[in-house]
């Protein structure tokens, strides 16, 4: 058995709701098959909050071991550094978290808010919120970047807004199984962040031949004009589908880059920023002049079935 405590800070509960949609493995499979003991989850525990208070006391007094601490939500440090925008029993949650992380073998940031600050950190960041080890792209959050849990890992950032259901449960299943978790430079588990959102998008053939939409509701690619960040964003959205069915880009919704530290961008989210007629941000690692050449040639080669949008997505 391994113990888990889940805390919500500045959050919408969306990561919890997303995780309840996980099916490989499901949350109930984590408890029955992987030996997870959920000591506390604010939405799921049936014991009263007094039990939670005693549990906190026991963990902090090291009478109770804590194997996995999951944090869902931005860490509110305002107003004026007091943390009082987010409290439990009249005390700032950021202080509670600072104490609890010291007791946990592993700490997991469930979602972009806990990892990087997320939507609440968008300008003007009214609550002065941060992530656990990052403040957007800056390498310091509530904790310094050098911080490690007793299990030897930094905060494991299962980024996403919300995090992908199965990415959350698979991360927990790997920790429960004693498997090694490889992390990328943003401390995200590499296995979920080694493919672009673009990979597996059903609009890829349109992208390939440079058939770009200028309005919503169509079948073409949304990268050039409609703000889609699929070719710039690392996530499994199109290789392990959402709710077993689809993804935003398949449904005609641009990728907003929600697994990235700078989500949500400050500029218009449904428009692509450009230099001339070419997107400012090119697909990851691509050189501009080569890209321009490739795109104009690609458009020349486009078949009628794509030009006339006959292909379904």
């Amino acid at each position: 058995m391994a113990t888990l405590v889940w805390l919500q800070t500045g959050s919408c509960s969306g990561d919890t709701m997303s995780m309840l949609c996980a099916d490989s493995p499901s949350v109930e499979e984590l408890t029955t098959g992987y030996g997870l003991e959920i000591l506390w989850h604010p939405s799921l525990s049936h014991v009263p909050t007094q039990t939670f208070d005693h549990l906190l006391d026991a963990i902090l007094a090291t009478r109770q071991t804590l194997d996995i601490l999951c944090i869902e939500g931005s860490i509110m440090t305002g107003p004026h550094g007091s943390g009082m925008y987010d409290t439990y029993r009249g005390r700032p949650k950021m202080r509670l978290i600072q104490q609890l992380v010291a007791q946990a073998k592993f700490v997991v940031a469930m979602g972009t808010c806990a990892a990087f600050g997320g939507v609440h950190a968008a300008p003007p960041n009214p609550t002065d919120c941060v992530g656990l080890q990052f403040d957007k792209l800056a390498p310091h959050g509530l904790l310094p970047l050098s911080w490690r849990s007793s299990g030897g890992l930094p905060v494991i950032n299962v980024a996403g807004c919300p995090a992908h259901p199965n990415s959350m449960t698979k991360t927990l299943a790997m920790l429960l199984s004693g498997m090694q978790l490889e992390l990328d430079s943003l401390n995200r588990p590499t296995m979920f962040f080694k493919a672009m959102v673009h990979q597996g998008c059903t609009r890829n053939e349109y992208h390939e031949y440079h058939i770009e939409e200028t309005e919503f509701g169509g079948k073409g690619c949304m990268f050039y004009n409609l703000g889609c960040q699929g070719p710039i964003t690392l996530s499994k959205c199109n290789t392990e589908l959402w709710n077993n069915r689809s993804s935003k880009t398949r449904a005609g919704v641009p990728c907003f880059g929600c697994t990235s530290p700078d989500f949500p961008l400050d500029a218009g989210l449904f428009n692509t920023e450009k230099i001339g007629s070419i997107p400012l941000n090119l697909p990851l690692g691509v050189e501009r002049s080569n890209y321009i050449a490739y795109k104009s040639l690609a458009h020349e080669a486009a078949p009628d079935r794509l030009i006339h949008k006959e292909m379904d997505v």
Binding site: L44, P79, P126, N244
Partner: protein, 513 residues
């Protein structure tokens, strides 16, 4: 008699909720409803392109993100004078209904019935049965509710790409048409779900269930067959009533519903009102009369809230949300106090049903008033109704697949103006009020369903609905007042959108240092 102050934190609600309660002789004599989180969404939205709200506002709430999206898109369409095509309206509401069904299932069998497994009830006759059905991750209904709530939101993913937090509704329609493929997939999901719901939650088919119209109809039905008594709703009812939940939790008699669940016909005439699946209005429980909704009659007070003060109430279109943390004052919450025509109101499935005049819920309300059991019961009653509506909606879509789903030529630059979007979300009346100037959001005010229910005192010193529903309650064990959990959870609280700070002394050692 010595007064005692207790501070109670509640779990199994969405977000953080605390109460400060004054007890005298074991009875609650004063109540302050205190959330504990401020997130600042309204400030984040100011100065952005109005379309950005389609991405930002779903993140207000992870359990009703589709409702938030719909409120935003309706407000933007109001400003732009845009009427979406009928198929878009159907797809939007089909997805909203699926989200509500998901919510009702999780709220009932993950959040509400778990209280029946409280150790306090170990000696009750129902205890073993309650544990075998409702214990988290072990009880049969708990596990089945997990699995089936997972399946029903697949329907939203078919049209919107993912649940939660998609942005597939945009001014002018939805981003993807209802193709033959999606329609069949959606019908399959819905039919499988409905069969499970009939077998396990109701113990009979939807038609029989929805035909129950009177108090006697329902109680005769309950005892008529073992399948009825053993169903989810049967067990929930018998345990609730054994605990007296049908006598607890009476609050304000004013019931607010925004109606919504627009039919395509209603949208064609006017983007906001008109012929809806549900009526919009305010039901007066004292007179039994319903008045049509007038959104101009909504105001928000801040005298007891942590916001920069203004006298009296302001309509949300004139509202301001500037945090002003004052720990040592009469103010006790970040939540504003919304009022309708100066009434303290409650909102949610019970209010929706009463405004609609739904026969069974009206009959039960007339017999026993509003109470914790009836509120929860009204929620499951709604689920059955929604499953029928979803089926009907999908049949219309199936008659003409790939029908126009979005207007052409809609720009992401929105004209200046003011608009609002009113939606019936899972928890009741949700409203967004938006002002656009020079192409940017100048003002954005959200009044959530829980803001109505969890309201603090207003400028006239009148308590909010939850506070009212607790004052006068006798509490068995002030250190573990499970009754309060039943009453408040029957409202399906969602505090993630609101905000508060507590200040009373702490009755428990919480954590050192």
């Amino acid at each position: 008699m010595a007064k005692r102050t207790i501070q109670l934190a509640l779990n199994r609600v969405e977000g953080d909720l605390e109460f400060q309660l004054e007890l005298e002789a074991g009875k609650i004599v004063d109540a302050r409803c205190v959330g504990t989180l401020y997130r600042g969404f309204e400030q984040i939205l100011i100065g952005r392109n109005p379309w950005d709200a389609l991405v930002i506002t779903p993140r207000i709430c992870g359990i009703c993100s589709t409702a938030q999206l719909l409120a935003t898109v309706k407000a933007l369409e109001h400003i732009g004078g845009i009427t979406p095509p009928p198929a878009a309206v159907r797809i939007r509401h089909l997805c909203l209904m699926a989200e509500i069904v998901q919510n009702d299932l999780r709220q009932t069998f993950l959040f509400f019935t778990a209280d029946f497994c409280h150790p306090k009830y170990a000696q009750q006759a129902f205890f073993e049965q309650a544990r075998s059905n409702f214990l988290p991750f072990k009880g049969r209904m708990h596990l089945e509710a997990l699995q089936n709530s997972r399946h029903i939101v697949e329907l939203i993913a078919l049209f919107g790409g993912q649940w939660p937090h998609s942005s597939f509704m945009v001014p002018g329609g939805v981003t993807h048409p209802a193709s033959d493929n999606q329609i069949i997939d959606a019908l399959t999901i819905l039919q499988q779900f409905t069969r499970w719901f009939e077998q396990r939650v109701l113990g009979c088919n939807l038609e029989v269930w929805l035909n129950l119209a009177t108090y006697d109809d329902f109680f005769n039905w309950l005892s008529a067959k073992a399948e009825h008594a053993q169903s989810g709703i049967g067990q929930f009812t018998s345990i609730s009533r054994a605990l007296g939940l049908h006598t607890l939790g009476q609050g304000t008699p004013y019931m607010l519903s925004y109606g919504s669940l627009d039919t395509a016909d209603s949208v064609r005439g006017h983007p906001l009102m008109g012929q809806n699946l549900n009526n919009a209005g305010c039901y007066n429980g004292i007179t039994g009369l319903t008045e049509a909704l007038d959104q101009n009659a909504i105001s928000e007070h801040v005298q007891y809230s942590w916001f920069q003060p203004y006298p009296g109430g302001l309509h949300p279109s004139k509202g301001v949300t500037i945090p002003d943390y004052q720990p040592h004052s009469e103010r006790y919450t970040w939540c504003k106090a919304p009022r309708y025509q100066d009434h303290v109101v409650q909102t949610g499935p019970l209010a929706d049903a009463l405004v609609q005049g739904e026969p069974l819920i009206t009959a039960l309300y007339r017999a026993e008033g509003d109470n914790a059991w009836l509120r929860q019961f009204a929620r499951l009653r709604r689920t059955a109704r929604l499953l029928n509506s979803m089926q009907a909606s999908l049949k219309i879509l199936a008659a003409s697949p790939n029908e126009q789903h979005i207007l052409r030529g809609i720009s992401t630059e929105l004209q200046d103006g003011e608009g609002y979007g009113l939606v019936t979300a899972a928890r009741g009346a949700l409203g967004h009020w938006v002002e656009v100037r020079e192409g940017k959001i100048r003002r954005y005010q959200v009044v959530t369903p829980t803001a109505w229910n969890a309201s603090p005192k207003d400028s006239a010193g009148r308590h909010g609905h939850w506070e009212q529903s607790l004052i006068g309650l006798k509490v068995d064990d002030p250190d573990d007042p499970v009754e309060i959990g039943h009453i408040i959870r029957s409202h399906d609280p969602c505090l993630v959108c609101t905000v508060h700070v507590a200040k009373a002394e702490q009755p428990y050692q919480v954590w050192p240092g």
